[in-house]
């Protein structure tokens, strides 16, 4: 009797549990002929560069692979939210996309977490791999020496300036600052002679996120000396560096002396879009420390078509702190196509990446997204060289460029840098205090033995 009851209970319980559980398991693990590709869709509904490009790839892939389907999985979110979302998707085979677009900024973090599949076996038999520049190949290399992604372009950074506003401020159209002082002097001249115009934009704080760290802080920091952020020889992060404080002081100066945008605008998460589609085209910003991609906002198909930009906007490399050799600084990042470790269709996923990286498609993508080429065949393509004014200038910055220390904890370090920048921007903390807090934060991120102190 009792055993009947118990077994009845068990049966009921199992049934009750099984019904909803099976109902929840709607992964795509189901259909063996469907490959899923996850990418970030812009939160600006007018921007569909990636979607349009991938729609073409989907057609091509499905034509070449009869009976197979390529399913686009757009994640419409800000960059930080995109990272969190795909990381969570990749934690379970039910939700993991097969092909995933990874930012080199955190690829090492995801490699270490075991989210990605090494691609060495595929790359070995792939002729196009020789076309890639060595630095680009290294961008997706894990600490284990294996390669986890195929880069699809890179970027460089420098100064954009408005020649018309410069003329009003009595500054030359072929402006070529040699030191930080020259940059600030030009900004002061604009402030004095062209009222109502923001002289200089340097991204800062947690709002713009990685843009603040890379376009803002690291462009300054890497002009202060050798390995100012991470010492690769000692394998330690650098604390208490003079360069760090000097870079913070530059940021503080820009905002304290009102040479930059109003802090409430500067800390707005959407400030990068406003710089590109509002402040620069409307002539309300004279100098922008920004990336090579700005131009793609102003072409006829861009967010904010602005035919005059080719005449109005000048470009110049960002100088080192005191003009020390090599005289200019640039930072580079970029994205890769990778295969999720939990994907059950690695072979198909790799074929998708091969389709993405035919010479024709790679050129098409580099041009459409306004990227800097990472393949020598694309770099020589006439279509690329004539794609947008200034592409030769930004391609030329590659020789000055630095890559971020691609380590798993980099995203946390970046976040600590943003907090330091934000506190000097708002005036909440002095440079010394903000740098001190960064040092403490660094120790908690990398451990006391993962940090080396520089002489004050």
């Amino acid at each position: 009797m009792r055993s009947t009851t118990t077994s009845l209970l068990l049966a009921a319980a199992t049934l009750a549990a099984a019904v909803p559980l099976s109902a929840c398991g709607g992964g795509s693990g189901g259909d063996p002929g469907t490959v899923k590709i996850a990418y970030q869709r812009s939160t600006d509904n007018k921007v569909r560069i990636m979607d349009d490009y991938l729609a073409g790839i989907k057609k091509e892939f499905e034509r070449a692979h009869k009976g197979k389907k390529l399913k686009l999985v757009p994640v419409q979110a800000s960059q930080a939210d995109y990272y969190s979302k795909v990381q969570q998707m990749m934690r379970s085979p039910k939700t993991a996309p097969d092909v995933v677009r990874e930012d080199t900024f955190l690829i090492n973090s995801d490699i270490k977490a075991g989210y990605l599949r090494p691609l060495d076996d595929k790359l070995a038999g792939w002729r196009d791999w020789e076309r890639f520049t060595p630095t680009a190949k290294a961008a997706a290399r894990g600490e284990d020496g294996k390669t986890y992604g195929v880069p699809d372009g890179t970027d460089t950074r420098g100064l954009w300036f408005n020649k018309e506003l410069f003329a009003k401020a009595g500054l030359p159209a072929d402006w070529h600052p040699r030191t930080w002082r020259d940059v600030l002097a030009a900004a002061r001249a604009v402030k004095e002679k062209v009222p109502g115009v923001t002289p200089l934009n340097v991204y800062t704080g947690k709002g713009p996120g990685e843009a603040a760290t890379m376009q803002g802080f690291e462009m300054l920091l890497y002009g202060t000396g050798k390995d100012p952020l991470y010492d690769p020889a000692a394998k330690k992060w650098v604390a208490g560096g003079k360069g760090f404080r000097d870079a913070l002081e530059f940021v503080r100066t820009v905002y304290a002396q009102k040479l930059g945008p109003d802090p409430s605008d500067a800390l707005d998460p959407h400030v990068d879009a406003r710089v590109a589609t509002d402040w620069l085209p409307s002539g309300r910003l004279a100098i922008a420390l920004d990336g090579n991609w700005l131009g793609k906002n102003w072409v006829p198909s861009g967010d904010k078509p602005w035919p005059a930009w080719t005449k109005v906007m000048g470009r110049t490399p960002f100088p080192t702190q005191d003009g020390a050799a090599p005289g200019a600084v640039s930072m580079s990042g970029g994205w890769t196509w990778s295969v999720s470790a939990k994907s059950r269709k690695a072979d198909l996923a790799w074929q998708v990446i091969e389709t993405l990286q035919t010479e024709r498609n790679a050129t098409e993508w580099t041009v459409r997204d306004g990227q800097i080429a990472v393949r020598d065949d694309v770099a020589k393509a006439p279509k690329y060289l004539s794609s947008t004014p200034g592409i030769d200038f930004f391609t030329g910055l590659v020789k000055y460029t630095h890559y971020r220390p691609a380590l798993p904890v980099y995203p946390q370090v970046s976040s600590a840098i943003q907090e330091a920048m934000e506190s000097v921007t708002t005036g909440d903390a002095s440079v010394a205090r903000a740098a001190g807090r960064y040092d403490d934060e660094l120790k908690s991120i990398a451990g006391a033995d993962g940090v080396t102190a520089r002489e004050r």
Binding site: M1, R2, T5, T6, L8, L9, A12, A13, L15, A16, A17, P20, L21, A80, D81, Y83, S84, Q87, Q88, L106, N108, S109, D110, K112, A113, G114, Y115, G205, K206, G207, D262, P263, S264, D265, L267, P269, P408, V409, P411, Q412, S415, E419, E422, S423, T426, D428, S444
Partner: protein, 309 residues
């Protein structure tokens, strides 16, 4: 499970069945049978995730950048109490809760309910509709509405400019005040409804008797109205507080917890640590501490309800 007792026949507790393994035990088990599916569902979908959260809080799980997580005991909690930002977030959370829920929503809701009892029908309908409209818009929509209202180039400044009053930039200078206002704007309707119901539940004879005895308005309010709706006050405070403690979307849409960390309440702090800095374990520990803050408030209100006047 409130249903469990209703199913038990009278006297089961006292008679104690017919010993273990006998028919009584079988009958008792059989009585539980209809509840089994619901119990299992609750265990799987409610207790399961909660238990997993509690477990996570004692590990160093990260969203990325880590090969495997390990058990770290109380390290996350120690880290929280040593973290200046965490303490700052606790203070802001208390400030936000007291300002917007206990002071703002609660008193404003009561005032509206009391005034509407005396108002004419059209006025009542209109006020009710406006206040409740603010409540029914989704949190994120309310967040963006109020962002455009308080923004430096937003509606509020446009109005102030028309009136030749000085402009404000609260989202930047006093963000915690701006989000508290937003929460009052959005959440007052609920208090208003609770108090409307409570006030209409006071028997007319009692109030009339007091009037005949010559009690003034304030005295009637203090000695009659308040004691009679005490339980509603406590219930309303409890629900409001718990809701306000967990407000995330509103603050995220308006300020993202910034500038700096000047409006980073615990839920925003939690999100920052768990998803932006990938420290899932630490974020979950903070979530448990937030639960604790809510529990403290709840206990206070429950005592308030129990005490006899």
């Amino acid at each position: 499970m409130p249903g469990a007792r209703a199913l038990a026949p009278p006297g089961t507790g006292r008679r104690g069945g017919t010993g273990p393994g006998g028919r009584g035990a079988a009958r008792r088990a059989a009585r539980w049978l209809p509840l089994a599916p619901a119990t299992v569902l609750l265990l799987v979908f409610l207790a399961g995730p909660i238990a997993y959260c509690v477990y996570l809080a004692f590990t160093d799980t990260q969203l990325t950048g880590q090969e495997s997580a390990s058990f770290v005991g109380l390290a996350n909690f120690r880290r929280a109490f040593a973290d200046e930002d965490f303490r700052h977030a606790v203070v802001l959370t208390l400030l936000f809760t007291v300002l917007s829920s206990i002071v703002g929503q609660n008193t404003l809701g009561f005032a509206l309910a009391a005034l509407m009892r005396r108002a004419s029908r059209p006025v009542r309908a209109l006020t009710g509709a406006v206040v409740i409209a603010a409540w029914v818009v989704p949190e994120i929509v309310a967040g963006f509405l109020l962002y455009t209202f308080f923004n430096r180039r937003g509606t509020l400044n446009a109005v102030l400019e028309q009136l030749h009053l000085p402009a404000q930039n609260w989202l930047f200078t006093l963000p915690i005040l701006a989000v508290s206002f937003a929460n009052v704007w959005r959440g007052t309707a609920f208090s208003m409804l609770v108090y409307s119901a409570a006030l209409s539940g006071i028997p007319r004879e009692v109030t009339e008797a007091a009037e005949v005895d010559g009690a003034s308005g304030p005295r009637r309010f203090w000695h009659i109205t308040l004691p009679m709706i005490r339980r509603s006050i406590a219930t309303n405070l409890m629900l409001n507080t718990l809701q306000t403690l967990s407000v995330f979307g509103l603050i995220w849409a308006m300020t993202r917890g910034g500038p700096g960390n000047r409006s980073q309440t615990l839920p925003v702090f939690m999100y920052d640590r768990a998803f932006l800095k990938s420290l899932i374990g630490y974020g979950t520990a903070v979530a448990l501490l937030l639960l604790l803050v809510g529990a403290v408030f709840s206990v206070v209100y429950l005592r308030l309800m129990r005490e006899e006047v």
